[in-house]
Symmetry: C2
Subunit: 225 residues, 2 copies
């Protein structure tokens, strides 16, 4: 789901181009296709019963986007202009019926996505705004940066990052300024940064060696400033 799954689409597919901001598919509609990003960036988001938006994930070149197999449970929109390889649900289902690998891959991918989401919740809940933000930078670097380069491209808007990290856009803005003040982040041009990972003065609160009887966890709590 979140990780690359290009192999799944070796079969028939069409390439489509979406303009920045354009909707690719919408939560609630009948699922008709899966996509693989070729260029650009896509966000996957859900809305709760009160209209609040949460960005579930960002997708880059090579990533497989699957928002459901019967009904889409999320909405996909283009963060930048992007090219997507589209494969119809019928084709996918055929592969699932025919091909053991595809089948296993789909289930494994779902489980992986579940794991990611569950742990993402835990981070949103237990980590401070600053911790979440530097985790975000780090994970984006891991996914999109070429080895050896210290250039980081963050095509999405502050609001998107905010809705992904469960923060207000103003807070995200402040966090950017903060990392720029320490020199960890240098803005080369809008959406393009030079990132020098700080030695992260070690997690001052590390996980218990063996979780004595599970409920351990110093339960939430902000750092003392």
């Amino acid at each position: 789901m979140i990780a690359g799954g290009t192999e799944l689409l070796k079969a028939e597919h069409r390439t489509l181009v979406f303009q920045k901001g354009q909707r690719i598919f919408q939560e609630g509609d009948p699922a008709e296709a899966i996509y693989v990003v070729q260029t650009g960036c896509v966000r996957l988001q859900v809305h709760d019963e009160q209209g609040g938006r949460h960005v579930v994930a960002f997708f880059f070149a090579g990533d497989l986007i699957c928002g459901g197999l019967s009904t889409y449970w999320a909405t996909a929109e283009a963060v930048t202009t992007c090219a997507l390889a589209r494969s119809s649900k019928a084709t996918l289902l055929q592969s699932i019926v025919r091909d053991l690998e595809t089948r296993t891959a789909m289930i494994a991918a779902s489980q992986q996505a579940l794991s990611n989401l569950a742990h993402h919740i835990s981070r949103l809940v237990h980590w401070s705004a600053a911790e979440r933000f530097s985790w975000f930078i780090q994970s984006m670097a891991k996914r999109t940066r070429k080895p050896g380069s210290d250039l980081l491209h963050l095509p999405m808007e502050r609001q998107d990052i905010a809705d992904f990290l469960a923060l207000a856009p103003e807070t995200v803005s402040r966090l950017f300024s903060q990392l720029e003040a320490t020199g960890e982040l240098v803005r080369v041009e809008p959406h393009h940064y030079r990132w020098s990972p700080q030695p992260r003065l070690a997690r001052n609160r590390q996980a218990e060696p063996a979780l004595p009887r599970s409920r351990a966890a110093p339960r939430s709590g902000r750092r003392s400033a």
Copy 2:
């Protein structure tokens, strides 16, 4: 995943009994089985890199528990003494290979679980403590209460509810007291309540009719007390 899937286990399985607090399987261990709850209550939880715990879901009689197919991505523990039907992974995989229905059901269940988790995040992020709590009561009632009865059994501890709703246990306690003060909730005995759903003075902030161009969402924000 969260919903009942008893049919999946019509094949060979053993019934196991776990005592309150006992661990059923642990995050990171190789996945070896799936379970269906026969009696009692089970919680599924993850730990983030700092040791913080988040309860992903509660399971009751009839619910299928699947914490991964290669490696468990979450830990399952008995909330109460409970009886579980266990089916080995090998058996499950055979069914997946043989049986088209099982296969489709697994994928559908994963997608359903993904949808639930994603929307759960959105609720945790955008809703106030009181809103989350009454949503919890309501959803527990929907899942466990017999039609026509107003009795509600909440076997889990305050800490479990807190870790499920992303709150401090003290806050959960205060919210219980609050609903008891209004009479919406009456404690019959520990863990057993009589619940009279209030007409919920209508969501004062409803979702936009058609989400003009997606980013809509009055973005988070607490109610004014």
